[in-house]
Symmetry: C2
Amino acid sequence: MNVSFTAHIKCSECPIRHRAVCARCDDDELQTLEAIKIYRSFEAGSPILWRGDELKYVASVVNGVATLGKTMEDGRTQMVGLLLPSDFIGRPGRNEIEFDVVAATDVTLCCFERRPFERLIETTPHIAQRLMEIALDELDAARDWMLLLGRKTAREKIATFIEMLVRRQNIQGLDGASPDLALPLTREEVANYLGLTLETVSRQLTSLKNDGVLTFTDRRHFEVKDIAALQEATGDDADGGVIF
Amino acid sequence: MNVSFTAHIKCSECPIRHRAVCARCDDDELQTLEAIKIYRSFEAGSPILWRGDELKYVASVVNGVATLGKTMEDGRTQMVGLLLPSDFIGRPGRNEIEFDVVAATDVTLCCFERRPFERLIETTPHIAQRLMEIALDELDAARDWMLLLGRKTAREKIATFIEMLVRRQNIQGLDGASPDLALPLTREEVANYLGLTLETVSRQLTSLKNDGVLTFTDRRHFEVKDIAALQEATGDDADGGVIF
DNA sequence: AGGACACTTTGATACAGATCAACCTCGATG
DNA sequence: CATCGAGGTTGATCTGTATCAAAGTGTCCT
């Protein structure tokens, strides 16, 4: 089965408590959220929402990785976002979703029915404020990605992508030296994210490997051997844009 | 002189009153805004904010067109947004701006000092709610643009851009048949927006002209002769994504 | 264990759009 | 009103990445 419901976890013990849409809520407000939330899990590869679907729920990613994409009539596709834990799915104030959301790995979501959630936005400023912050952060990220898509070379795209994975996975806990990182996407999905073909992705990864920047432990796991060289290859200036 | 201050206009008579960040505010709330706002004008071509500048003000575009762009070390640039009247500039909760903002035409802004504005966000839910809506709308637009940058051909990019101009300028007032539209950007700026070179932009515009889709009345003004063909050329499906 | 299938790599070739270069257009300026 | 310069067009050529094609790798299933 692709979708399943999952045991209720208390908000206060939730791993994304301090980064998700609920981050600013106090205990009372959490109680209210607690009452309308429900966990759902999706298997790797299964669709979560399809473009044009009615948007019954909005949700936070609790764990796993989902992709947000658009498809053209003739089948060309472009990924427009990578949803990692604490990222938000859905659009209060809109009935349909405009994107395809797919589970890239096994994913657990914390879902809220949209209507009650919209009412909460009206009555709970902490939620609107946090959602505003999240939206503004994603907007910045989307704009960085526009620079990547519009102007970067294939090698720069790959390097930027890897560098982003390093940064975001380091934040998720285990800091320090960054050995053995997970690549949560196939070559084809990476290509969709970067506006390339899967062959080009493969060639550029091989090239980074040959240049001693990366090593692969298996297809889905790699180590960065030379972070400075990786940074250099992104084309960004030293402390490139993203304030962390 | 490049920058000038402009006579105060009452919010209640402001042309963007119902679309800008103040859209949801009631009369009392407008009073508060009125007290901290100030109009500033910029000549076509002059910079409004430079990447890394301290973000003293946030602002709404009252009239004119500004561009939002990123520049790489080696000079490659990508425009990441086109700011038309009612669009919002700045990021509450951040000290520096990450982008270059430039006046493409003469521009008037309605500026609020950032600190007092941030306090207003805390105390005036209508502003946080509206800013959330604006951010989410821009996020959708940014994601549409990611599809364009990552996957569309040069012709599709140009057609999509023109179609967006038609749509947005029709909303700004004079509806009906859409004769004589303004092209607020140079070929080079269009190229920066679409991830192309100026030569390619020029060739594609010529090609659309030869195909009877457009005619130019002068370099900065054109008419769409065949909207259906334009739509077709965008590569989007009939009612492509953007609602209304 | 063997086969099938999904994913990946590698190679050969094609092409859209970049780059380099020359010329055109037109409004501003002395 | 001649000149100048920014912006625009058009042409020739080059190149990075797509496309087409084939073969390699690992994992799941029977």
